[in-house]
Subunit: 160 residues, 2 copies
DNA sequence: CGGCGTAATTACGCGCCTGTGGTCATCGCA
DNA sequence: TGCGATGACCACAGGCGCGTAATTACGCCG
């Protein structure tokens, strides 16, 4: 009936269409990003026509961060570099920190470190994004769209 | 002999080619930006083939700020919006402040105000750029390139 | 006044990102 | 096991932001 049925472990996935709807991007963007290796669905990748991609909650968070960066006028190419860097150098819990992009340098930091960085304010542009607020917005969108897919649990348990 | 001859008032202009060289962008970019109304030369605009554009020092500063934003991965379209907003709402001395772009809001602020903004860190991306450092870099580039155009005064008198 | 250098103009092409539309494999369901 | 819905795949189009190259016009200088 719905593609958001909870599995036996309570960890549900999101289909491509639903992921795009929740995040607030077009399906074509989601598709393009998946096949150009920006964000691949971590639960189930596509394997030919007719297969189904399955996005995790964490994937949605990444997608939403990317959407925020795009909305802020940042080029997709730049977003790609930032995320490839992040994936190689950071495994910390992303949701708690603030993302800072400064040229080719990317880092996650907490509030005080952030103030420090901004105060010294190198010689380039700083792109600053609080992941926490992104997560809040994402959860709100999830609750909104949950009405269309009744049997799904709300993601409250995932708040970290 | 040179297109950077100082006039009787000491206020010299920069040709298109030199402006591009000093700022560090291609001539095609400068040309494109001029004819699409991003930055027009304030001393003398083009008037047909064979005419000469004349950029002021202030123009160079704007161009350099734009270059910084582009280098940071910000889309030209977004830069356009920011500058059209700035030109309509702000006549303060740009060189002293910090430029902050937050979605469709653009503002110039000093150090303390900046910290305040970052601390509360709205729900989007903040693009932060200290204009002072841009000006410093620009002046350095001017001094470097002055060797190619000997008779020109250094822009030290223009420091704000 | 006629060549010469500079530079603005124009035409053309490319790569990126994305929207549109159609095709086709797969899944859910009866 | 066939049928309809879903969604991945593919071909194409289009705008933006330039690069490249040729063309045209101005200004200077001999």
């Amino acid at each position: 009936m719905s593609d958001t049925m909870a599995g036996s472990n309570g960890q549900m996935g999101f289909s491509g269409t639903r992921a795009a709807a929740v995040v607030g991007i077009s399906y074509r963007q989601l598709d393009y990003w998946a096949r150009t290796d920006l964000v691949r669905p971590s639960l189930a990748d596509a394997s030919g026509s007719g297969s189904r991609r399955q996005y995790s909650y964490r994937d949605l968070l990444e997608l939403r961060v990317i959407k925020s960066l795009l909305d802020a006028g940042i080029k997709l190419e730049s977003v790609r570099k930032a995320f490839s860097y992040l994936r190689e150098n950071v495994d910390a819990d992303i949701a708690a920190a603030t993302l800072v992009i400064s040229g080719s340098d990317v880092l996650l930091c907490d509030g005080d470190t952030l103030i420090d960085i901004v105060r010294r304010g190198g010689q380039g542009v700083l792109n600053v994004l609080a992941i926490g607020s992104v997560k809040t917005d994402l959860d709100a969108s999830l609750v909104e769209l949950a009405q269309d897919a009744p049997a799904a649990d709300l993601p409250a348990a995932q708040a970290g």
